[in-house]
Amino acid sequence: MEIPYEVTARRDTGLYNAKIGVWLFLASEVMLFGGLFSGYIFLRVGTQPGIDNPWPLGASVQMVLAGFINTLVLIASSVFVVFAWVALKERKWNVFRNWMLGVIACAAIFMGIKAYEYTSKLTKHHDVKLADNSILGGTILKDEDGVRTDRIRFDAESVTVDFAGGIPGFDSYIADEDKEDLEFKTEEGETVKLGDLDSWFMGHRRAALRGLAEMRKKQRAGTWDDQKDTPPKMKEKLTASFRINANPRKIASRDETKLNFHDRTIVEGKLVGDTITMELHSINLQMVPLADQDSVMAWKLIHESTGSDHVKDNYMAVREEKLDRVKSYFKDGVIPIKTLQGPMINFHNIHEHPHGHGGHGAEEAVQAHPGDHGSEEEGAAEGHEAHGGGGGEHEDVVIEIPRDQTLFVTNHGPRAGTYYAIYFTLTGLHGLHVVGGALVLAYFLLFGKKMFLRNPEHLANRVEVGGLFWHFVDLVWIFLFPIMYLM
């Protein structure tokens, strides 16, 4: 049996099957990215200044150069695809092969640059929102053991697990080097290896639930005897001593001797470290009214860590200068509330100084400030354009932030705010499309020769269809680049 119109076009519709198919698929892709773009607009328009986490200006947090190069790479790959298709129409396999190799190389370069951008955001840039909504930007440093200081560091002696809950997750935060050999002792004196913990837990959980069913059945029937029958054991305390560096998101509450995990596990022992050490790069007071900005918690923390009010004085001076400059643009000197609460006035790179000239707002180039001593954390301090400033040496400001003074600690990953969330989701899905498209085109390249010899038109059709998808991916990026990187 043969399906009609697989290679040749049907006369009245003028199309072969795969072409209709791919255009329909692209129509649904339009709706997919349309949904994401409308989500972008909805979230951006709906962000309430002073209440919601502020949206940064794309150009101030992105590596524009990387995005620009990626745009050119994708455009080049699109050109290569059409040339590969033309080569097939001319029945020239070798020419087709070369163009197609170019396309796949472009895809690889694109994904490489993307990975570089992601890594930088995830590991080098952090935000700490304090209890009064002032936001400190910078890099969270590691402690002397090499553990990032936003982790809760804890010496554990025992763990209590709850069989009514799910498999406990504390074990993924155990920091001991020889943790494979770690053994837990149950209340009955049984030993459980760390690697067997999950299956041990599930076995006991099943038994506990069976016991519970049995007990309730007897109770309903009135045959339950408090003296003779024992209720099932729903909790178990395991002893072992180990070090844990817990992700604070997994902890519901904690004190000096106890960590209560969200998954109902209780770890007891001794708290070792719970203070975040951060190298400060920027201060963002968009969520604090102007009048309160001279008394935010950030100043106190910086004063306690560095012993000087230099950063605060600097911020205030720069702010006044910006306000004066902006005021002159408006009639009667009244600044609209949106501008007043915007990043232009309230976002401050700590190495930015008054009497700066040219440019405006967050993205303005920063004057170099010679430091008295060399930076110990040179590597961590290098940021991308906007954060790092105009280059040159400057004084590092390292501060200690007790966790109970923070509201929200994050890297510049998807958690950092709705802007980052939509950025990672959009570019991530787009990246998946790039990978998928490259795989399909690579398939034509590797396994297409046979079809080329048998029916070159069929292969040309397939490449045309694969190319249509590839151009669509390019098309999405054409919109994605300006709205994410520039505006």
Binding site: M1, I3, P4, Y5, R10, R11, D12, L15, Y16, N17, I20, G21, L24, F25, A27, S28, M31, G34, G35, L36, G39, F42, L43, G46, T47, I51, N53, K129, A164, G165, G166, I167, P168, G169, S172, R205, R210, L212, A213, R216, K217, Q219, R220, P248, R249, K250, A252, H262, D263, T265, F408, P414, R415, A416, G417, T418, Y420, A421, F424, T425
Partner: protein, 649 residues
């Protein structure tokens, strides 16, 4: 038996020789498991969907038990160890279990039951046959579509047995409830709420692949002479449904991906600033919008309603002309109405969201479009109704279900009108009135049409008829108890019963204890007698729960004849004496029984419109599309269609 059609009867005997080569050499797993034949895939869809429908029904029965008897241990479940975490000490259903089953009842019924049965099974089996295509345009994509659906279904089903239980934030999974539910579990991937999202991504993929395939097939694989306006209404409905799935599902996929990010990566797409969970500020950046989720969800959600109902119209529109022996009344009008319906269904979604606090402008816009969309719906239902007029109706089982569909859908549709206005929704939102309304559309509406379709096309594949007697035993109790379940919901809803009260509303005394009818009335006496209550006791609103729950259990029993009938008839049913036992006119009845791989023995040609019954002057009371004739209406088909026929796409 007409002389003309007997030539086709004869074809059966010699039928299988032709495709021996294609079909019978295949090993079992390739022929029946990983098949690329649209008919086998259709059957796979059908059986899987029926299993899920039964599962969804079971979940509903547990819920109805909890509503009717909030103070009694639930039978069966109370003894199962795995469910102990969600039952209380007395073995009663807790709110958590109710939420879990409620969410999964909706999800399973819609995404794993009705849509796969209507679109996946009937669409797959019948569409290529009716347009005279050898198979779908992309047979392997078709197979991928089924297996994607199957994986999604398995994920949904297994999520019941995870320590967290399945999803429990309603079938709509509104954020931020759905974002924050079960976040405590350490292994977030293995929570029901997350699995729901993963399963949805598979189901959406399945629907998208299916939609692309259907539309391409209908556009490009129509047989010679099968012009746009000669396509059966069934095919038109599938085309429109395909477009609905194609364009409406991606925004839901976006919503699912965003919610997945919220759960797994800690983003704040749908988490507003300062969200407070159990006295603690939720650990997220905030700044997101729960409203965005609802917009994206209902952008799918409303077209999805028409995905549920259009195939039902399609099936009924095939069965009614066949059994009244009259043409479908207003075929062209129905086609255009279906298209308008499809188009409008994309711009009515926010009528599900009147109470979200969104602006008044948007409310006004969506009220207008919602009222507008009732016009094409009424055109469709009226055309079907008028089609009955003056016909000599054969009341066989498929026709019974098809006729019952009309008033049942009518009730569902008309009770939807008040819900188009936001001032009435203030009172009716999330009450049982809404539940009654959409269940009338989907349960006695679509499900009846699907039963009709099963009875109607069963002989095409098996060569045997289903038992009429068992069919009658299936139909009449189903009709009575369906109404027994859903009719009282309108009364309860207008009295203010909330849909998510797991105790059936007994805790809300001022709502629960309103009088329904006095104990001295006929209904009161009957009620007290049936439920062994003291004579003369008034029937309160809360007591209607007993009626509904009893009806639900009896409805389950009424499906037993159907199940017996379905399996028994495969081997024991009365053999058909031709390939066209109903004397129908569309192309699928010209194939051998069952249709071989590749469907048609000779190249199918369509000579006339799809519903040429009782043509004056014709020898028979039906003039099939596939028979050349001299009855004046038949024209020799052009080699290909003229260009202009495209304009209807």
């Amino acid at each position: 038996m007409s002389a003309a059609s007997s030539t086709y009867d004869g074809a059966e005997a010699s039928g299988h020789a032709h495709d021996e080569h294609d079909h019978h050499d295949l090993p079992f797993w390739k022929k029946y498991i990983f098949s690329t034949d649209h008919k086998i895939i259709g059957l796979q869809y059908g059986f899987t969907a029926l299993v899920f429908l039964a599962l969804g029904f079971f979940l509903m029965m547990v819920m109805r038990w909890s509503i009717a008897y909030p103070d009694r241990a639930v039978p069966l479940l109370a003894d199962l160890p795995w469910f102990q975490s969600w039952l209380d000490a007395d073995g009663k259903v807790t709110g958590e279990l109710y939420n879990m089953f409620g969410a999964m009842h909706g999800t399973i019924m819609i995404f794993l039951g009705i849509v796969p049965l209507a679109f996946g099974a009937f669409g797959n089996y019948v569409t290529p046959l009716q347009i005279g295509a050898p198979d779908m345009a992309f047979p392997r994509v078709n197979m991928a579509s089924f297996w994607s659906y199957f994986i999604g279904g398995v994920l949904m089903f297994t999520s019941f047995f995870l320590p967290s239980g399945s999803a429990k934030a309603g079938w709509t999974n509104y954020s931020p409830l759905a974002t924050t539910t079960d976040l405590g579990f350490a292994h977030q991937f293995w929570t029901g709420q997350t699995q729901w999202l993963f399963a949805m991504v598979f189901l959406i993929t399945s629907s998208l692949l299916g939609a692309v395939n259907f539309i391409t097939t209908i556009i490009n694989l129509r047989a010679k002479g099968m012009t746009w306006m000669r396509m059966p209404f069934f095919v038109w409905a599938m085309l429109v449904t395909g477009f609905l799935l194609l364009l409406a599902f991606p925004p839901l996929e976006v919503a699912a991906v965003m919610q997945l990010m919220d759960r797994l990566a800690g983003t704040s797409f749908f988490v507003p600033s300062g969200l407070n969970i159990g006295g603690q500020v939720f650990d997220a950046s905030g700044g997101g919008s729960p409203l965005l989720y609802q917009h994206l969800f209902w952008f799918l959600g409303h077209p999805e309603v028409y995905v549920l109902i259009l195939p039902a119209f399609a099936i009924v529109a095939e069965i009614i002309p066949c059994n009244t022996r009259r043409p479908l009344w207003g075929y062209k009008t129905m086609v255009y109405a279906a298209m308008v319906l499809g188009f409008l269904s994309f711009i009515v979604w926010a009528h599900h969201m009147y109470l979200t606090g969104m602006g008044t402008s948007i409310s006004t816009f969506f009220q207008t479009t919602t009222v507008l969309i009732s016009v094409p719906s009424v055109i469709l239902i009226t055309s079907l109704l008028i089609s009955l007029w003056g016909g000599s109706i054969r009341f066989n089982t498929p026709m019974l279900f098809a006729t019952a569909f009309i008033p049942m859908f009518g009730i569902g549709g008309l009770t939807g009108l008040p819900l188009a206005f936001n001032n009435l929704v203030l009172h009716l939102h999330d009450t049982y009135y809404v539940i009654g309304h959409f269940h009338y559309v989907v349960a006695p509406g679509t499900v009846f049409a699907l039963f009709a379709g099963i009875y109607h096309w069963f002989p095409k594949h098996t060569g045997r008829m289903m038992s009429e007697k068992l069919g009658q035993w299936h139909f009449w109790p189903s009709l009575i108890f369906m109404n027994g379940v859903f009719m009282p919901m309108f009364a309860q809803g207008m009295a203010g019963f909330h849909r998510r009260a797991f105790d059936g509303g007994v805790a809300y005394e001022n709502v629960a204890n309103q009088l329904f009818v006095s104990g001295d009335s006929f209904f009161g006496k009957f009620f007290n007698f049936v439920f062994h209550r003291a004579a003369g006791q008034d029937v309160l609103m809360i007591d209607l729960n007993l009626v509904m729950s009893a009806s639900a259990f009896l409805l389950a029993i009424s499906q037993v004849p159907f199940i017996i009938n379905l399996f028994l008839s495969i081997t024991k049913g009365k053999k058909v004496n031709s390939d066209n036992p109903w004397h129908a006119t569309t192309l699928e009845w010209s194939t051998p029984t069952p249709p071989p791989h590749g469907n048609f023995l000779t190249e199918p040609v369509s000579y006339r419109g799809p519903y040429e019954y009782s043509v004056p002057g014709a020898a028979d009371d039906y003039s099939p599309q596939f028979e050349p004739g001299d009855d004046g209406d038949a024209e020799a088909p052009a080699e290909t269609e003229p260009e202009k026929t495209e304009t209807h796409a």
